[in-house]
């Protein structure tokens, strides 16, 4: 089946260690993580990835007061992506732009805040904000983008747990192929660090990470002493177009999405299933028309949990074990787990490899867990190679959702 080619023409992002692709990439190559200890309601100090983009760059103070943090992150990322794409936004038919934002969840932050608010008024619901519903509907982050930009095409969020960033991109690609829109803003966002419930939930699961002295070392996928995740906020929105449209307007084409798959473990609420993960990667490769050895970088999902990292390594060894030039890395060691933004941000951190032929490492591996040893795992130092042309990006989430997205350097 002939499929319309879909390309990336712009990127906008905020991560705990960078508010532009350049800043973020530089920190990935220089080994600079940025995780801080923050005060969490009811929990004391916990490590978290905090973004410091300027929310007033694209929003008024009133918009900030009325809207949500997820909306703010989404707006910043989307506006940066639009600017990066060079699209003549003023004169573009805004009814032909779609907004597809992946989230793990939405509404927790705002609900927790309101319950806390009315607790100070004896739980009198007359003090419950009238802003609650527009703040907590699941489409809020995507909707805030449309209000801020004047986009009148379709918008919605895609709930896909920690696979949401990939899922946003996949949805946009499909909508472009269907001809529903001519320009798409897609990716994922997270405001999860403002929800104590999320931290407490992970802690109760035994999945919240710690380190005795350095918050930047809490997130340490594949390290023998790893003990859990770091929750982060962040956002990454891509501008996507059909190749013919991007070419017609002379756009700078950053990369092409050539394959993808989403599948389900159908086995456990939280424990990953390496067989289904392998299946997901193999299915994506099939869509891309590639063999495992054609992949230059596999960016792992690995979140720094004792179990999850091992399961993914099993899956990767099964698919790529015989691929001598497929390198493996991880981004969560730098920025923690950015939830809905994770897949989108982690892919973005690798895209500059198409230009500089360098693979960023996974850091904080002081002693590699033997069960996570993989040939070509790039640890602690970046690796220069002859050429990077194909990246496979893994993102897996609870309820057994798996996603694999394959992106190729655009060479015509």
């Amino acid at each position: 089946m002939h499929q319309t080619r879909i390309v990336i023409t712009g990127i906008g992002l905020t991560s705990p260690n960078g508010n532009t692709l350049e800043e973020y990439r530089k920190n990935l190559l220089d080994g600079v993580a940025r995780i801080q200890m923050v005060d969490m309601r009811y929990m004391g100090q916990v490590p978290a990835g905090v973004c410091d983009f300027d929310p007033k760059k694209y929003q008024t103070r009133k918009e900030l007061r009325v809207g949500t943090r997820a909306g703010s992150i989404a707006i910043y990322s989307a506006r940066e992506a639009i600017a990066d794409s060079g699209l003549d936004f003023e004169n573009f038919d805004k009814s032909r732009i779609g907004v597809y934002v992946g989230t793990t969840e939405h509404g927790n932050v705002e609900t927790e805040n309101e319950v806390y608010n009315i607790s100070k008024f004896d739980y009198d619901t007359r003090f419950w904000t009238h802003h609650h519903n527009p703040r907590t509907v699941a489409n809020n982050p995507a909707g805030e983008i449309t209000i801020n930009t004047g986009i009148t095409g379709p918008h919605y969020t895609i709930g896909a747990a920690c696979a949401a960033g990939n899922a946003g991109l996949i949805q946009a690609l499909q909508m472009l192929r269907l001809g529903e829109v001519d320009f798409a803003l897609a990716g994922g966002v997270s405001e999860s660090i403002q929800s104590f419930g999320i931290f407490a939930g992970f802690k109760s699961q035994g999945a919240l990470g710690t380190h005795e002295s350095d918050s930047n070392k809490v997130s340490r996928p594949f390290d023998k002493s790893r003990n859990g995740i770091v929750v982060s906020e962040g956002g990454c929105i891509y501008a996507l177009e059909r190749l013919e449209d991007a070419t017609a307007r002379g756009a700078n084409i950053i990369a092409e999405i050539i394959g993808y798959r989403i599948n389900s473990d159908a086995s456990d609420y939280v424990l990953p299933n390496p067989e289904r993960q392998s299946e997901c990667m193999r299915a994506a490769l099939k869509v891309a028309g590639l063999q495992p050895e054609d992949v230059d970088i596999v960016n792992t999902h690995a979140t720094s949990t004792p179990m999850g990292d091992i399961q993914e390594c099993k899956a990767i060894k099964e698919v790529f074990g015989k691929s001598p030039t497929t390198y493996i890395n991880n981004t969560k060691s730098f920025i923690g787990h950015a939830m809905g933004a994770a897949g989108a941000l982690e892919l973005a951190g690798n895209l500059p490899s198409f230009q500089d032929n360098t693979i960023h490492p996974t850091i904080n591996v002081e002693e590699l867990d033997p069960e996570c040893a993989m040939p070509n795992l790039v640890i602690n130092e970046p690796l220069k190679v002859d050429a990077v042309k194909v990246i496979l990006n893994n993102s897996f989430g609870m309820l057994g959702i798996n996603s694999a997205l394959i992106v190729r350097k655009f060479e015509g």
């Binding site: 009133k62 007061r65 007359r126 003090f127 009238h130």
Partner: protein, 83 residues
Amino acid sequence: MTEDQVKQIVIDIITEIAPDEDTSDLKPEVNLREQMDLDSMDFLDIVMELRKQHNIEVPEEDYPKLASLDSCADYLTPKFNAK
């Protein structure tokens, strides 16, 4: 509490609710919505802040009485003084 003090309280609340607006030169007799970009959700914010900060209830049928600073002062000053 005087009417002028009540007007200042309302202006202070509006400054919180509409932080991008210039509230330094509001005409007391002109409708607030003609002088600033305030929508119905913003008016509900004014009602909420009166409740939270000053323990003053404004029933829904009285919302039109908050239309201008003068009408706010007329309506709210007795409520402030009855507390």
